[in-house]
């Protein structure tokens, strides 16, 4: 732990000499950079997906949770009476904030997209709709359904939960998948850097032996490798993140009718999240290399 802290401080300070003791390796360096960039690019998308799914689940939950509908189908003569009974019953139900029968004009507006503007609603056996707004605590839908059944035979309660719940569940699952992907990407970065660091440590066995011989501590030797891989992961991930954000920005803008895909951007403070990708990749690389170096160096005489 102490050695890790020292390494961390030294990393911040920078040490030209310690950097030079390990020979430069062009090809593997570029591979590490590329892999870090690709992983960061994917991570940006996984995060965008998670955050969009979370946003969707919240907004669907908010919008739909509050509104339910009671639909009354009754013969012409009983329509007004049953509507009045249902309204009274609803107003007495705990958890219902307000209940309001939709006017003819409102019902016509609802039907317009399907039947055109000239539909004479009044002359058709269209059911009467009552819009029910819940208090935040909500009501008990099963209890309300039973009471409606007893007093208003033609009433059907549609609390939207039936189709809302699976959608919200799907959105939550999607968010979870996004976070899981981001975690797996981080783990992959760790695995990749560990492999690369092990290869570098093995390839530089002579360098390590010489450094030990002239009195270098393990912390000094480890630092040369840790610094190198941390900087590679940082710069690779920075490039990948920039590309990823660019790609997200190129998604078509979300309009009024925001569908799921067009909503796949970052909003507000969420823009901070992709910016965390490069430092996190660097942190993962730092830990992975430090652990690999400690293991390899500890096994030497």
């Amino acid at each position: 732990m102490k050695a890790t802290l020292q390494t961390l401080f030294a990393l911040g300070r920078g040490d030209k000499a310690a950097d030079r003791v390990v020979p430069p390796t062009g090809f593997t360096a570029r591979l590490t950079l590329f892999a870090a960039a690709a992983m960061a690019f994917l991570a940006v998308f996984a995060l965008a997906l998670s955050l969009a799914a979370a946003r969707l689940a919240t907004s669907w939950g908010d919008e739909l949770a509050r509104a339910s509908t009671v639909r009354i189908s009754a013969p012409d003569g009983q329509m007004a009476e049953q509507t009045a009974t249902a309204l009274r019953l609803l107003q007495q139900t705990p958890g219902v904030a307000s209940a309001r029968a939709l006017s003819e004009a409102e019902q016509q507006a609802l039907l317009e997209p399907w039947f055109g503007p000239d539909l004479p609603v009044a002359q058709l056996p269209v059911p009467q709709l009552i819009e029910v707004l819940e208090t935040p605590e909500g009501y008990d839908p099963d209890g309300l359904r039973l009471r409606l059944q007893a007093e208003v035979p033609g009433a059907v309660l549609d609390d939207h939960a039936r189709w809302r719940k699976p959608l919200i569940a799907a959105a939550s699952r999607l968010r979870l998948l996004g976070w899981a992907s981001a975690l797996m990407i981080a783990a992959t970065v760790g695995a990749m850097v560990t492999l690369a660091a092990n290869a570098a440590l093995a390839a530089n066995a002579q360098v390590i032996a010489v450094l030990r011989l002239v009195g270098a501590t393990d912390a000094y030797i480890a630092r040369a490798f840790v610094r190198r891989f941390t900087l590679r992961a940082l710069s690779g991930a920075a490039a990948g993140t920039v590309l990823g954000i660019g790609a997200v920005l190129l998604m078509p803008p979300a309009g009024e009718t925001a569908s799921f895909l067009t909503g796949l951007g970052f909003r507000g403070w969420h823009w901070v999240v992709p910016l965390l990708v490069p430092p996190l990749a660097a942190a993962v690389a730092f830990v992975a290399t430090a652990v690999a170096a400690r293991r390899v160096l500890g096994g030497l005489s």
Partner: protein, 256 residues
Amino acid sequence: MGKAHFPGAARIAYAARLMHNRPSFSGDGTGVIELDNVAYSYGGGELLSELSLQLAPGSFHFLTGPSGAGKTTLLKLCYGALRPTAGVARLFGQDVRQMDRDDIAMSRRRIGVVHQDCQFLDHLSVAENVALPMAVAGQAMPEQDDNLRELMAWVGLTERAGALPPELSGGERQRAALARAVIMSPEVVLADEPTGNVDWEMSQRLLRLLIELNRMGVTVLIATHDLQLIRAAKSQVQARVLRIANRRLNAAGVDL
């Protein structure tokens, strides 16, 4: 090439640093490096047994014995690269068993080692390699450049300072290794076959460099099977000769 003199300024600086280093030695015995009844085995039978050795400050020792007798192994025990399988090894009074890897690394800064197969960082210049012990110790002294230049002149490598180690001849490598071993002004220099790859003339030169260090108070231990070299040294310095035979360490016979 016949003359080798440790340059004046560097010599004084070296001696001063050596005096400065001395008080930190707090051995309870009498040697800077002590092996007490030590045994070592690489896993099979014992290679060395019941071996005791004391390197008194400022002493000059030769270590000899047939190839494979364990000279390199013994040197490694002396700088903590190997830990004895039995007995006690002490570096500057500290029991090796109680030293962790960092303690060993720190003790390397007081013990200059010339390996039998001199290894360098092949991507750095000879001068950078010679200065490497200072770099890893975090010491970038202002006078380092002068010191380094004089040291390079002392081992006759001024012309080759910018070359890469793979471009050096065997003798040049050994001189570079010697320069690297002494740049930290160590109290002890352990040299394993320092004249292995060089002709008689060059081996005399390297020997004089080591003798000169010894005159400044540096403890020197040289492993070699070059008996001629030992004879040549004995005329210039009071050297003790140790021989490894039958896994034990003995004072060498009268043949020298």
